[in-house]
């Protein structure tokens, strides 16, 4: 039963899969062209958040967050169970908070609708005049690079191998690298944006985002703050958008997001969009105006063709599996992705309907 598995890509998704499969007795080799965790993972905010765009997305992210909760993470992962506070600007959004609360409670997630007064008590730095909010207690924050390294280290301790080589091509039953061909029982493609180069049938597009990190202002913000308008403003697929999204880090710093745009692979800051993003942040948190920013960076979310990532066997290519296109939720869902992958390879229970993540025939 000792399957030999090759994982292409040591981003959070790849290392989570490697760790999970190695723990189940497979013999895993991970290929990484660059720095493990150095892709989208290193750029990410690290909000572990349950989102409810669709019932399946909700089940997927909720399972993802639950699996992270079960992990006993070391200090370097900077995990904080600070919860998410969805901020409602007006009555319409309070209504949305109520509907959201029903959906979250339906899944057994602890949450509570806040009045304007309770919102102010929970986060006194928010601007006056907001209408209320929704607190989702179990959401977390972590340092994605730290978490990826933790999972990788554990996989290696369990006997996995890390091979710092670029995979040049997929070949039947294996991969080709500079030193030569490597054969295995299964190849799992978890190469983030690099996926499409190896498998052109699966288009993964870079969806650029800006983040700004501030100096230390401990105690200014207590929850990850997200505007309820977020779902409206950030998730429309084609449009360029910004949303209020501020995260308290374990260091006392604030991480300010978020923006979304399709702009190719140009990582230079889009000042206009950055300005809009920061203006939005200040409009919700006026004191932010004087808080110093140390660095602004951009990252690319690996955005697949559908609303959910592609996880499972690739049709017509025996032995090839894919886990890619996690867009802005790959940190949240890395462990549940690994669970689904283990289901496909080992027949272990999946908790979610694996069919929802299979590549669509049109793409297969």
């Amino acid at each position: 039963m000792n399957q030999r598995i090759l994982v292409v890509g040591a981003g959070i998704v790849g290392v989570a899969i490697a760790d999970r499969l190695q723990a189940s007795g497979c013999s895993v080799t991970i290929f990484e062209a660059d720095l493990p965790g150095g892709g989208a993972t290193a750029a990410a905010m690290g909000h572990l958040v349950v989102l409810d765009d669709s019932p399946m997305q909700m089940a997927f992210t909720a399972r993802g967050v639950a699996l992270w909760r079960q992990e006993n993470l070391p200090k370097g992962c900077e995990r904080e169970v600070c919860g998410t506070l969805w901020v409602a600007a007006d009555e319409e959004e309070v209504e949305e908070a109520r509907r959201k609360a029903e959906r979250y409670s339906g899944l057994g997630l602890a949450c509570e609708v806040l009045t304007a007064g309770q919102l102010w008590e929970a986060e006194p730095a928010l601007r006056p005049g907001l209408a209320g909010g929704l607190r989702v207690a179990g959401d977390q924050v972590l340092y994605p690079m730290g978490a990826a390294r933790f999972l990788l280290k554990r996989a290696l301790e369990r006997g996995a191998t890390l091979c710092r080589e670029k995979v040049q091509a997929l070949v039947p039953g294996g991969v080709r690298t500079e030193p030569g061909l490597v054969q295995a029982d299964a190849v799992i493609l978890a190469a983030g944006l690099g996926t499409t180069t190896l498998l052109p049938e699966l288009p993964i597009q870079p969806r650029k985002g800006h983040l700004a990190i501030t100096g230390r202002v401990p105690g200014l913000v207590h929850h990850q703050l997200v505007e309820l308008g977020y779902l409206k403003s950030a998730h429309g697929r084609a449009t360029t958008s910004v949303a209020f999204n501020v995260q308290p880090r374990a260091t006392g710093q604030l991480l300010i997001g978020s923006s979304r745009e399709f702009a190719g692979l140009d990582g230079s800051p889009n000042r206009e969009l950055l300005g809009r993003m920061l203006r939005k942040a200040v409009s919700f948190l006026p004191t932010l105006e004087r808080v110093p920013v140390l660095r602004v960076w951009t990252g690319f979310r690996p955005c697949g063709p559908g609303n959910l990532p592609v996880i499972g066997p690739w049709p017509g290519r025996p032995g090839l599996f894919v886990a890619a296109g996690h867009e802005g939720l790959g940190i949240t869902t890395a462990l549940v992705t690994a669970e689904l992958m283990a289901h496909h390879l080992l027949g272990t229970p999946a908790f979610l309907d694996p069919a929802s993540f299979l590549p669509e025939p049109a793409h297969g």
Binding site: L35, A212, I213, P292, W297
Partner: protein, 423 residues
Amino acid sequence: MVEHVDVAVVGGGPAGISAAVASAAAGKRVCLLDEGSRPGGQIWRHRLGQVPDEAQSLLTKLDAAAVKVLFRASVFDVEDRQGSWRLTLSQGERRVAITAEKLVLACGARERFLPFPGWTLPGVMGAGGGQAFLKEGLELHGERVLVAGTGPLLLPVAASVGKAGGRVLAILEQTPWRRVLGMLPVLLAHPSKALQAAQLGRSLFGVPYRPGWWVQEAYGKDFLEAVRLTDGQREEVLECRWLFCGFGLVPNGELGVALGCAGTHAGLQVNKAQESSVNGIFAAGELCGVAGVDAALAEGAIAGLAAAGVWDAASVEGHRLVKARARARSTGRQLERIFALRPELRGLPRPETIICRCEDVPYGAIDPSWGSRETKLCTRAGMGPCQGRVCGPILIYQFGHTPDTVRIPYKTTPVGQLIAEEP
């Protein structure tokens, strides 16, 4: 409102002032920007009324020239606007934007610090840092001061200590005697430097100059109390209140690198007209490689003339500037060899010694097999407010790392000022 100028000069040290004066003399609209409160950069930082003569004539020219000078102005963003440059700067509570046809970078250099146990104690400062505070009025009231590190800078620092009423216990120069003697031909070739040296020597009469010695450890509870020094064989402990310690200079090349100018951490590359690899961006002074004030003055003038489109190497003035630059650069290279850092200094930090002062990352947290990016992402070294300006050169020296990528804001800037105007 965005002001438009022909030439924007970033940095108001000798190189920047000289560039601004030259461009303005050629009839250009010029803007000079500096983070400090007055012109002069790192060398001419004296309190008002105490500026040295050599500086005074240039400062007078700057006053007379039609140059718009902005002080306390930290340039935190520069954008390529297809044919012009847009600079954004933070000036106290204000945000200012300027567009310019040409850019002259004259951002100078900063001190190189090296870590040893105790170097983070209050009372331990840079040599140039200490000197800056002394020039600006810090008084020492007979306190015991040790000056250490490397380079010719240590001597004027010690002289400033004496002037401020401090007692210099010794000047520890890490480079050995036989290499220090290499200074003699340099001095003989530059009578003016020899004169300066002689004057310095007089004011330092009685202060032990100890080449081949360096600081091993600084002790103290809330403030520096004592220092242990060594020459590799012997050790001594000296009680002291202040340690002014610097290991030469590192060019402030970040802005240029971020704009795509070719170069290394040792300086930006420029052509004979001081133009960088990026069209329209000129660079002068220490950020092209450390070579001192004479190089800065000559290169600044060349860059200023070139940015104004009137640089003529064949003119009389052109000849003079080219010669002055070549001479100063060659001296700079000689000094660099003489004061090269000795390998023993790499062995000073202990596992618990802080490497990154902003994030308190200890030496022992860094795996020597890691590259720069891995070190940063795994330990937070370089993630603090100084963005690796202090620990970057240390990591380059200790582990052979490469400099980190530079991102906006180039200087820590409040959120409110980073917000672009409404379109």
